[in-house]
């Protein structure tokens, strides 16, 4: 099915069309399940003034952190950005804007963006700085705030296995934000570890149906560990 073949030949092709000032939604939690090579391609490409939507901003020198080195990011929308000295420096210098968003609200904003829901009410953040300036409404006697959804010009996603139609499966907790990110990009680009034939993935066990995927490439991954914690073998 030629029309459904999402595979592209190079990372340059994968990120073709990314322009300065665009919004990029990225999957991943910490350094787990991040689209390492798509991020590297954005660095190579040198796009600037980006708004990046991701739970975290990587660490110094790895993950989304590398986009800070050449000041490519104008704004981050994240729930936690505490692992990154360069981030702190640019934030304090006023070179970087940050919109802190509760983690669950961030996940739901991406999902809503992909699902045609422009806004939803949530109790999260009511009465806190996150709720300031947002509409408050009571349901069943409890106050909630109105949060708007997020869509990206691009979404960059890391999956484990994929077929050429773009059907995806994630591995362990590397799933995290990736499925929602995949739905919320005008152009969704995925890098996978392993290409399988259509039909190899059990249809009811596909995490992301191919309809959400525009481009796909097979990559190899460093998978750096942020907090290496081990116990002695018995």
């Amino acid at each position: 099915m030629a029309g459904f073949n999402k595979l592209v030949g190079s990372y340059a092709e994968a990120m073709a069309g990314l322009e300065d000032g665009m919004t990029v939604i990225a999957g991943g939690f910490g350094l787990c399940g991040i689209p390492e090579n798509l991020i590297a391609e954005i660095k190579r490409k040198g796009s600037r003034g980006l708004t990046v939507v991701s739970n975290n901003c990587g660490v110094d020198g790895f993950g989304l952190g590398v986009l800070l080195e050449d000041r490519q990011v104008a704004k981050m929308i994240s729930s936690y950005v505490g692992e990154n000295a360069l981030f702190e420096q640019q934030l304090l210098a006023g070179e970087l804007e940050v919109e802190l968003t509760p983690q669950g609200t961030l996940a739901e904003k991406m999902r809503a963006g992909g699902a045609g829901i422009p806004a939803f009410f949530t109790a999260t953040g009511y009465g806190t700085p996150v709720g300031e300036g947002k509409e408050v409404r009571e349901f069943d006697g409890r106050p909630y705030i109105l949060e708007e959804s997020i869509r990206g010009d691009f979404a960059i996603v890391k999956a484990w296995k994929g077929d050429r139609y773009g059907n995806l499966v994630y591995r362990h907790t590397a799933q995290n934000f990736n499925p929602m990110a995949a739905t919320a990009g005008k152009i969704t680009v995925v890098e996978i570890e392993e290409l399988v034939e259509p039909g190899e993935l059990e249809p009811s066990q596909i995490h992301t149906p191919g309809i959400y995927v525009d481009r796909m490439i097979v990559g190899s991954f460093e998978k750096r560990i942020e907090q290496r914690t081990v116990r002695a073998a018995n």
Binding site: S79, A107, Y126, H172, I225
Partner: protein
């Protein structure tokens, strides 16, 4: 004597019940997992998308794709499930987690909690804390009763930016176990050897003290 970190965790662990799904925050809350009473089973939820978090992996089990919300490498117990962040927070925000334990900078008599931001210092972000306190019905805050400089953390009104409003009912400090209701703190238990007077002196918000305040036993 004021409670040690381990004793704090032990006291919090008494809030567990068999069959509870529990989310433990970073720090002392994490230690609670070590004091689950014998014969009782709880399942740990980690908000990055894991229900049934197990112990740290051995070198042989180590897997970069298997982490917890603290970004530590972990394992999964038999019967665990793994899912997306949206599903994970649907669980949390939908009130399906039975108990949430987290640290705080301050709580107040209205059940407000401040735990994520100290203006002037760098703002790291709230992570999942705002979702956890808004979504859970049953939250235990654990922290020291007062700062190193002796300033109470149990206040008439939080001074720092809030994590959540009106959501905290139980606080375990190094000096006492305190409940929050009707705009007041209610002293329920004191740490071994800690006098009611000391607790009263270190509680800035209105504190209701019963005639008898049982001493915690360990």
């Amino acid at each position: 004597m004021s409670l040690s970190r381990e004793q704090l965790a032990m006291r919090v662990a008494r809030e567990l019940q068999d069959g509870y799904y529990v989310n433990l925050g970073i720090g002392i809350p994490t230690l609670v997992a070590n004091y689950v009473p014998a014969g009782m089973n709880v399942m740990l939820q980690s908000e990055n998308g894991l229900l049934g978090m197990g112990q740290f992996p051995t070198e042989a089990e180590l897997d970069a794709d298997m982490i917890n919300a603290g970004k530590q490498t972990v394992t999964a117990v038999k019967g665990a499930s793994i899912f997306s962040s949206a599903e994970s927070f649907a669980m949390i925000r939908g009130g399906h987690v039975d108990l949430t334990v987290l640290g705080a900078f301050e709580v107040d008599v209205m059940g407000n909690i401040a735990s994520w931001m100290i203006p002037g210092k760098l703002i790291k972000g709230m992570g999942g804390a705002m979702d956890l306190v808004a979504g859970a019905d049953n939250i235990v805050v654990t922290m020291t009763h007062a700062s190193k400089h002796g300033e109470s953390k149990l206040l008439p009104q939080c001074s720092l930016p809030l994590t959540g409003a009106g959501c905290i009912k139980k606080v375990v400090t190094d000096l006492a176990y305190v409940e929050i209701a009707d705009g007041k703190f209610w002293l329920k238990e004191r740490a071994p050897g800690i006098s009611v007077d000391e607790i009263v002196a270190k509680t800035a918000g209105e504190l209701v003290v019963p005639e008898v305040v049982p001493e915690m036993e360990f």
